[in-house]
């Protein structure tokens, strides 16, 4: 089908675009001819890792997808959808924007926020909360500061204008992310289930519209860029980074909400990676139809764009809408009201071909199904090999490190550790309150609680992943990530409901990376099964690594970020983490252990990275969570906070800081004091209890078979461990609150 303007593609071009020789030959087989250049472009992006999940889908399929509350199965629509009752659904998803953020942190992060929100509102859901999970190199490095500042400003400027609060998140610093930061953004929306909009095209003869912003040359081949290693030359890929406009996004949101109330829309999909190409092929393939598209009708930002440029553009704030024939005017009127483009660019056809025309000339004719995941896109299982560091790390034991002579100093160092300290500097730049549904602003808890207006229910949500655990033991580390997310939800008063994941790994062609990936998926599957939290969708980001000094590839820590949603059957179940009253008793639920494995303490104080993952047992975890749910339901605890990064000591400090209260506790003589205070063994929760309820509280805990230890009591502000004075809570807070702000203020120019 070569035309005067469309040269046949060559194998060299295919390779340059990231395809392998066998894949090029597959395309020839599918088409029965050699593709032209434009068609080649289409296959190269659609078969890129980013769009096709070709090296991950086999394993992703093993994750549990069904749950009693699922309205949409994983991968079927733009995002997962959980039934929350009363005719409402919760749409939620997490996505990475790592590669763009590595070279242009501001726009990279901003457009990540834009993309994930569009995934939610194209389903007809109004986003009500955002979360993010960020990872950078060491905080004392100037490049890190530049990246941190840009990413946070990008997320803030976009999300603040868009008008959806950021309610939770995590920020982690480690040299593994020095060149390749991770920027994962999650959005959560609410939809009337009767208004859910599908991402499938149906009904030959129906009109295909492009709506939103005009199309420009930005972001061309972004999907392919996301599917290769970040290197020193990555800045050359700058034109692959898109530019965001939150104002357009806001208009698009409001127009979409009005569309969802009509019966004019058959299907709608966001234009993210691979723009028009991806949306037309996925919508067609999803509905088992084809499309005829006229590229010359697409509103353009600049003249003389070539067909492949229009097809590949990743200009932001655009969507593809399939409109019921005869109801075009309804759609056009809504977009007119919001001053947005809405232009018909094609029609749905019987299929299966996707035909693309420019000025009447056919430039592309390919079977839509051959392009997409689950259709003709390639699927691989890669070679896997256990890395040497794993066995080495398993040998570590506590007696290899000496106990520091002064734990007061250690405690202070941990409070000032960037991974432990308050991330206030970050989240004060985000609008955390717009929408007046963030119930956590004045009631801190382990997970964010977001009110669902018009009902008595609320949502709990969190993002979690300790990548150092996952690095040291991918399977157990990921189990822990899921378990901790669920524990956070339970400690805030919620019932864990479902998971979205953002899988950030190195190059899957590296067998050791693939081994990490396999282990992580296995652990996630096990944990999600046990906790009855199906995985509703998410995103895979491979190639997060850089060339090391010796030329070898250095993958980042395997980082399978878990985003979890839970439901509070009633808003009054909301639990909080802050100590309330001086004199309240402090208990530890769960078992203290001689375990400092993979802890921040072991890494930052002793300089040891390789060790096993912290102790974790799912049975213990389930028992503990069951117990906590009952304690909260019966209102038996005044404060509740799980033990995580930094260990028990940090947990206690975090409980004291909001109201300036302290603690006086005793440690366990059976356990080494550093392990007791700073170890991160799992399935432990600290609670404070009024003396009046002590008996009822203990009865409940004992009935559940959870181990319980009386640690001590809440003080007016003094911090005391085994009668040793550890300082005052106000001083601890002054350290904890200002670490990042102070580091950012000392940037060398």
């Amino acid at each position: 089908m070569a035309t005067s303007t469309e040269q046949l593609a060559t194998l060299d071009q295919a390779k340059e675009m990231g395809l392998q020789e066998a894949e090029f030959n597959d395309i020839i087989k599918v088409l029965g001819r050699t593709p032209n250049f434009t068609e080649m472009c289409i296959y190269s992006v659609m078969w890129s890792e980013h769009c096709s999940y070709k090296n991950s889908i086999n394993l992703l399929k093993t994750l549990p997808k069904d749950g009693p509350h699922m309205l949409v199965k994983a991968g079927e629509e733009n995002a997962g959808l959980v039934d929350i009752g009363e005719g409402l659904g919760c749409a939620f998803k997490i996505e990475s924007h790592n590669h763009p953020s590595a070279i242009e942190p501001y726009q990279g992060a901003a457009t990540g926020v834009g993309g994930i929100n569009r995934d939610i509102f194209t389903m007809g859901a109004r986003p009500i909360a955002q979360l993010n999970s960020l990872r950078f190199g060491k905080l004392d490095d100037d490049k890190t500061k530049w990246l941190l500042e840009g990413v946070v400003k990008g997320i803030g400027d976009y999300g603040n204008a868009f008008g959806v609060p950021v309610v939770a998140g995590e920020v982690f610093f480690d040299e593994t992310y020095q060149v390749n930061p991770l920027v994962n953004a999650m959005s959560v929306g609410i939809v009337k289930t009767k208004n859910v909009i599908s991402a499938k095209a149906k009904g030959p003869g129906n009109a295909v519209y492009i709506v939103g912003s005009a199309t420009g040359k930005d972001g061309i081949q972004g999907a392919s860029f996301a599917s290769k290693d970040i290197s020193a030359d990555s800045a050359d890929d700058l034109p692959s980074v898109q530019v965001g406009d939150p104002f357009q996004e806001k208009l698009l949101l409001e127009a979409s909400m009005e569309l969802a109330e009509t019966d004019a829309v058959v299907g709608m999909q966001d234009m993210g990676a691979a723009g028009i190409t991806c949306s037309t092929s996925e919508m067609s393939a999803g509905g088992g139809v084809g499309m005829d598209i006229q590229l010359d009708k697409v509103p353009l930002r600049q003249a003389d764009m070539k067909p492949f440029e229009i097809l590949m553009s990743e200009s932001q704030e655009r969507m593809l809408v399939v409109v019921q024939k005869g109801k075009e005017q309804i759609v056009e009127d809504i977009f007119e009201k919001w001053d947005l483009h809405a232009v018909q660019i094609g029609v749905v056809t019987e299929g299966p071909m996707l035909r693309i025309y420019m000025h009447g000339e056919k430039v592309v004719e390919v079977p839509a199904d051959s392009l997409v995941l689950g259709g003709g896109a390639p699927v691989y299982t890669r070679e896997s090999k256990e890395p040497a560091y794993y066995a080495e790390g398993q040998k570590f034991t506590l007696d290899q490190i000496a106990e520091p002579s002064d734990l007061v100093v250690v405690a202070r160092q941990l409070l000032a550790n960037p991974n432990i300290c308050s991330k206030r500097w970050v989240w004060e730049q985000y609008d955390t309150m717009v929408g007046t549904n963030n119930m956590s602003t004045n009631k801190p808890a382990d997970a964010a609680i977001v009110n669902i207006k018009g009902s008595n229910k609320a949502l709990a949500m969190t993002v979690d992943c300790n990548a150092r655990y996952v690095y040291n033991d991918p399977e157990k580390g990921t189990e822990i990530a899921v378990a901790e997310a669920a524990r956070n939800i339970v400690c805030a008063g919620g019932e864990p409901s479902a998971v979205t994941n953002c899988l950030n790994f190195g190059n899957p062609y590296n067998p050791e990376v693939y081994w990490q990936f396999e282990g992580a998926i296995k652990g996630m599957g096990k944990a999600c099964e046990a906790l009855k939290t199906p995985v509703t969708g998410g995103n895979v980001s491979f190639y997060n690594q850089t060339a090391g000094e010796d030329g070898g590839a250095l993958p980042v820590f395997p980082t399978p970020t878990i985003g979890m949603i839970g439901i509070l059957a009633h808003q009054n179940l909301q639990a909080t983490l802050d100590f309330k009253y001086k004199g309240d008793l402090i208990f530890l639920l769960g078992t203290a252990r001689n375990d400092v494995n993979s802890s921040e303490y072991l890494h930052s104080i002793h300089g040891i990275l390789n060790s096993p993952a912290p102790y974790f047992d799912m049975k213990e975890e389930l028992t503990l969570q069951g117990c906590v749910k009952e304690l909260i339901k019966n209102n038996l605890v005044n404060a509740i906070h799980d033990v995580s990064d930094g260990g028990l000591y940090i947990t206690l400090c975090e409980m004291g800081m909001p109201r300036g209260l302290g603690f006086d506790i005793v440690t366990d003589s059976e356990i080494r004091e550093d392990a007791f205070l700073f170890g991160e063994s799992q399935s432990r929760i600290v609670v404070s209890v009024t003396e009046d309820y002590e008996d009822e509280f203990i009865d409940t805990v004992v009935e559940h078979g959870v181990e319980i230890t009386l640690l001590g009591h809440v003080t007016r502000g003094k911090l005391v461990v085994d009668e040793k004075h550890f300082g005052f809570i106000d001083d601890a807070k002054a350290i904890y609150d200002n670490v990042i702000g102070e580091a950012m203020a000392h940037k060398s120019e």
């Binding site: 400003k153 803030g156 400027d157 603040n160 204008a161 868009f162 008008g163 406009d245 939150p246 104002f247 357009q248 806001k250 208009l251 919001w338 001053d339 004060e428 730049q429 985000y430 609008d431 955390t432 309150m433 717009v434 929408g435 007046t436 963030n438 119930m439 602003t441 004045n442 009631k443 009110n451 207006k453 808003q571």
Partner: protein, 230 residues
């Protein structure tokens, strides 16, 4: 009392103020679309927060040219109530209904956090019915909330009792250390000389729902409503 809430493209606190007035305070509320010119009989017009028209030029700079604004200005000039919150305050300053301007925060960053403000004006109904000397916990969320006016204007604002709120400590004391954005004399809100047009950067509608565990903002609205009814 009929409230009208103006909706510009890019407004994002419109639903929050509607929720507060309608569901929490039981008032009659209607939305006023920026392309219209009819205030639909509103007695009290609220310009909500957000990023009108994206705020790409300067906060509020474009919104003031919207068709609805001519009607809002006419309403204000007739003595009708107009309140601007956050971006709404910026728009009222741009429109010349309120003196002064909102500059970039002196931190050069967007800031969202709880602040305390304390009522100042004994003659403006938005503050006069509140407890003087007390700190009300009302959150801010803005990048350009640094209130500025020249010396002469500040003097006349003070002389005419036009400063409605200042940022303060939890105990109500006004100190520079709690000034979140560099505003002149900790000014968080002002009114016009006629005391019928008010603007403030903090968001009282974000502190009105008991589910959010802070209802200081509700008290602010209730104080004003009491006076309007009286």
């Amino acid at each position: 009392m009929k409230f009208g809430v103006v909706v510009f493209p890019g407004s994002n606190c419109d639903e929050d103020i509607v929720h507060t007035l309608q569901n929490i305070l039981g008032q009659e509320v209607q939305k006023l679309w920026h392309k219209e010119t009819d205030l639909k009989g509103s007695d009290f017009v609220v310009i909500p927060g957000g990023f009108s028209y994206g705020d790409y030029l300067r906060s509020g700079a474009i919104a003031r040219f919207s068709p609805i604004m001519d009607s809002v200005i006419a309403h204000a000039n007739k003595g009708g109530y107009v309140m601007g919150i956050c971006n709404g305050f910026q728009i009222l300053c741009e429109a010349g209904l309120l003196p002064g301007a909102l500059l970039h925060n002196n931190t050069r960053k967007f800031i969202c956090k709880n602040t305390f403000i304390t009522p100042q004006s004994h003659t403006c109904m938005i503050s006069s019915n509140l407890e003087f000397g007390r700190g009300y916990q009302i959150p801010i969320a803005h990048g350009e909330g640094n209130y500025y006016a020249n010396e002469g204007t500040i003097k006349s604002l003070n002389d005419n009792d036009q400063v409605i709120f200042r940022y303060c400590q939890e105990d109500g004391q006004i100190t520079e250390s709690v000034n979140p954005n560099g505003s002149v004399q900790n000014i968080a809100g002002v009114c016009n000389i006629g005391k019928n047009v008010f603007g403030m950067m903090p968001h009282p509608e974000r502190a009105a729902d008991y589910l959010l565990n802070n209802t200081d903002g509700k008290e602010l609205f209730e104080g004003a409503l009491e006076l309007i009814k009286a």
